[in-house]
């Protein structure tokens, strides 16, 4: 299989021109292209100090190490990797051909909070993880996707299935150092009556492409996805949240907030697709990005596609604005200096998804 993916990698082009038919590319593929020749890393990053209070149960670095406990089974290799992901672009093919460390998680019953950390290295690091949440299980899985500074590259793929009537949180913190490049993809299948809450927080590097695809397959399955992101000065982040209603009576809510800072770049986008089979389904997507700084660039691009003839609800909305004089004046009129007002706004945006609070992190310390 690896050979097949390698051939695909060689034959597939980078999307230099556009990600979308509207002739715009949000990911700067050139940064990845420049780093594809990097060797595999020989060292792995230490857990960054902001996350030192978290004790991960699964650690992916040069290899995989883990501890098991009740309700949690961990295997040292992913099971049927790439079985749910279509290899249709160059970076996905690169990952499929190149990743080295991985694991498979099976969760059942009340499994509590589970922390999985994926650590980058000084050169290329590829991690692949598969996840199965058994029917009726409940708990939270936190994926911590971190990458040190330098001219490096990491690909991190997660394929997950949430079986019938499970009620879980599947969360992602992507913390990529300013010089790094990362391609992170999560794809989650949600079956009948299952409920998933997903909180994500992405602080990107020189180029971070983070994509979360939620396929709400089951009848009455529910997804609530909340996302926060910041594009720091000198970095580019393309954060994509896609949802697919497949099951009848399925419900999806996606809400994201982002801030592009100084000379930073952030695109926050997502497609909410209601398939023909999704009778009486509902889907809502709302994305807002603010820009702090004259040279900051931000995009909020929600797309809603409804292919079903009978939907219960379908909404999409976007907001994008420079932090205007009126925002700062309003906060100043409450007694906050300009700097405090800006910090409050950024802190609020990074805290919007709720992940920083759950992980006991000060959002501003992540910048």
């Amino acid at each position: 299989m690896r050979q097949k993916y390698l051939e695909l990698f060689r034959s597939l082009p980078f999307q230099h021109v556009a990600d979308t038919p509207t002739v715009r590319h949000y990911t700067d593929w050139r940064v990845f292209e420049e780093r594809l020749g990097l060797p595999h890393s020989e060292t792995e990053l230490e857990v960054p100090p902001q996350l030192s209070h978290i004790r991960p149960h699964v650690r992916l670095g040069l290899g995989a190490s883990y501890v098991t406990r009740e309700g949690v089974k961990v295997f040292g290799e992913p099971i049927e990797p790439m079985s749910t992901i279509e290899v249709a672009d160059k970076m996905t093919a690169y990952h499929a051909a190149s990743w080295r460390a991985g694991a498979h998680l099976e969760l059942e019953g009340e499994f509590g909070n589970l922390y999985v950390i994926s650590l980058g290295g000084e050169a290329y690091m590829g991690h692949h993880l598969t996840l199965k949440v058994r029917g009726g299980a409940s708990g939270n899985v936190y994926f911590l996707d971190v990458l040190p500074d330098g001219r490096n590259l990491k690909t991190f793929f997660i394929e997950g299935a949430v079986e019938e009537k499970a009620s879980v949180g599947i969360h992602l913190l992507s913390l990529h150092s300013p010089g790094s490049a990362a391609f992170t993809l999560g794809k989650f299948l949600i079956y009948d009556g299952a409920e998933v809450t997903s909180r994500s927080l992405v602080v990107g590097g020189k180029m971070s492409r983070v994509q979360l695809d939620y396929v709400v397959k089951g009848e009455g399955a529910k997804l609530k996805a909340f996302a926060s992101s910041a594009g720091r000065s000198g970095t580019k982040t393309d954060f994509v949240l896609n949802s697919y209603n497949v099951g009848a009576y399925s419900e999806v809510i996606v809400a994201g907030r982002g801030a592009a800072l100084d000379k930073g770049y952030l695109s926050l986008r997502g497609s909410a697709i209601v398939e023909e089979s999704a009778r009486q389904a509902s889907s809502e997507i709302e994305l807002q990005v603010i820009m702090l700084g004259e040279e900051a660039r931000g995009f909020a691009v929600p797309v809603l596609e409804i292919h079903s003839g009978e939907v219960a609800k379908g909404n999409h909305s976007a907001g994008i604005s420079h932090v205007a004089a009126e925002h700062l004046f309003y906060l100043s009129s409450r007694g906050l200096s300009r700097k405090e007002a800006e910090r409050l706004m950024v802190s609020g945006i990074l805290g919007f998804s709720g992940l920083a609070e759950e992980l006991n992190l000060d959002p501003l310390e992540l910048l």
Binding site: S332, L344, G348, F352
Partner: protein, 251 residues
């Protein structure tokens, strides 16, 4: 005297928006500033609050006898001036409760903005929200994001009540409200007066003034003061329009 505006002339870019305006607001009183649209009422409020772009050409603004012209907006706020805006902006990412805590912490001299310094603030916020008919969930929502017009007005009043400023400037707090909403706003304005605060109430209708009889009325037209009086001036305007204000001024 709480607030004194003396011979204030102001321009925004090339346009002069206030011309030699003088008025004063005493503690424990309501001073209504009336005028048609575009007469300079909001410009006066913004200038008192020190909004960027409102350039004072001449005149002065005094709080408790001291000029505040050299102070930045946040410093004026911390000295005790509060402006409830006519159309406050939406602030994505900033929860209403977080804003209230931050504003309260600043008044307590706390550098940390989001950690609750005084737990009674949370209790007061919830109690005021209930009294103003605001749903408890609103406190967790982002400031003015998806708020109805009424919720915006009430949340501005909530902050005024909680932060206990010396001077409360209310810029058209009744616009877009139904009768019950107007009565609630009026109740709060009366409460501010009873608590000894100085209230500057900006409005272009006298309908709110039926529920809160002002102690003084000043009428602006074209950025100038054209008339001064008591509540009777407001009711004369309600009956005969702003034309009467100029005659009143001449008298």
């Amino acid at each position: 005297m709480a607030l004194e505006v003396k011979g204030l002339s102001v321009r925004v870019r090339d346009k002069v928006v206030l011309k030699g305006v003088s008025l004063s607001v005493r503690y424990g009183t309501v001073h209504a500033v009336m005028g048609p649209n575009g007469s300079g009422k909001s410009s006066l409020a913004y200038t008192i609050m020190g909004r960027e772009g409102y350039e004072v050409m001449e005149g002065d603004i005094l709080l408790d006898g001291e000029s505040i012209l050299g102070l930045e907006t946040h410093e004026r706020a911390l000295r005790g001036i509060y402006l409830a805006m006519q159309d406050p902006p939406a602030l994505p990412g900033v929860r209403f409760g977080t804003l209230v805590v931050a504003a309260s912490n600043k008044r307590l001299g706390e550098a940390e903005l989001t950690r609750v310094k005084d737990p009674s603030v949370i209790r007061s916020m919830r109690a005021l929200a209930s009294e103003l008919g605001l749903a408890p969930e609103l406190l967790q929502r982002e400031v003015n994001v998806g708020f109805s017009g009424g919720e915006r007005k009430r949340s501005e009043l909530l902050q005024a009540a909680l932060l206990k400023p010396k001077v409360v400037i209310l810029d058209e707090p009744d616009s877009g409200l139904d009768v019950d909403g107007i009565k609630k706003v009026a109740e709060y304005i009366r409460r501010f007066r009873e608590e000894g605060r100085a209230v500057m109430l900006i409005t272009h209708y006298a309908r709110l003034l039926k529920h809160v009889v002002p102690d003084e009325v000043t009428v602006l037209i074209g950025g100038e003061v054209v008339a001064r009086g008591g509540a009777e001036l407001a009711f004369a305007i309600e009956e005969k329009g702003y034309a009467i204000a100029k005659e009143w001024g001449m008298k």
